[in-house]
Symmetry: C2
Subunit: 153 residues, 2 copies
């Protein structure tokens, strides 16, 4: 049975829990700093996201407990006849909740938000090292039509 | 020899030329409407971009002539210790100018803008049907580490 979850915008008090989930991951554990007190860089990023109407940091909750997170960015483009896109990034679910459909519900919620915002496309990239993630997204109806290229600065 | 070009933010008067370039493309010709008068959807998208401090629609010019375009989106994320990313999209050069290094200069300019904006990463996706584009970006230093997944709504 799917875990019953609710969704809401993250607030500042969720930030420690969000970073904890991001760090509890085979790629995230090398690049995040889940420390007390939480490094200020996370608070600054949160404030930039929260003040931008085209960015939404969303948490999935089971009761009062935050068990998942994702960020949705809405972007207007000239291409596709001036179409808006939604980009999903930073999707994580609590390790204790994996395999219970939380990720599926998160992504479905993002797709619904994209519709509400009038987007013609939802997109994301997933690291080729995350083979299971690729299958997860394809199962949800995404097509791996593109190469995702990155350059570190 | 490289074509000597300058870069600036696009204005409303560039919009027809931008759509003309987007439509003059093997994928773009199926999805854009380069018509007179220009469909209003393009103007609305332009206005949304121009009013968003995290989006820049950039044109490359040779003298007064617009010969290239790209959009750069700057996004704050919680991941990577609250790092900002720059996403490049909608890159086109005038068909008459292809092979003269305009695309290379466009992308280098975007990378420079990303540094100025304090991004730790520049990213883009390219359709797997555009094999030559993949090599172009890899040659510029991008790594195809990710799958780019899309879902049409």
């Amino acid at each position: 049975m799917e875990t019953k979850i609710t969704f809401r915008l993250a607030n500042e008090h969720d930030l420690g829990r969000i970073v904890e989930m991001l760090a509890d991951d085979k790629l995230g554990n090398k690049r995040e700093r889940y420390e007390q007190p939480l490094p200020e860089c996370y608070l600054k990023a949160y404030q930039a996201i929260a003040s931008d109407p085209n960015n939404e940091l969303v948490v999935a909750c089971h009761g009062n407990e935050v068990i998942g997170v994702q960020q949705i960015t809405f972007t207007p483009y000239i291409t596709h006849q001036g179409g808006w896109r939604a980009t999903i990034e930073g999707v994580r679910t609590s390790s204790s909740e994996r395999g219970k459909g939380v990720g599926t519900q998160l992504i479905r919620w993002a797709i619904q938000r994209a519709r509400v915002r009038g987007c013609h496309l939802v997109q994301l990239t997933t690291d080729k090292k995350r083979e299971e993630a690729l299958h997860f997204y394809e199962h949800l109806g995404f097509n791996a039509t593109h190469e995702g290229l990155k350059m570190k600065l």
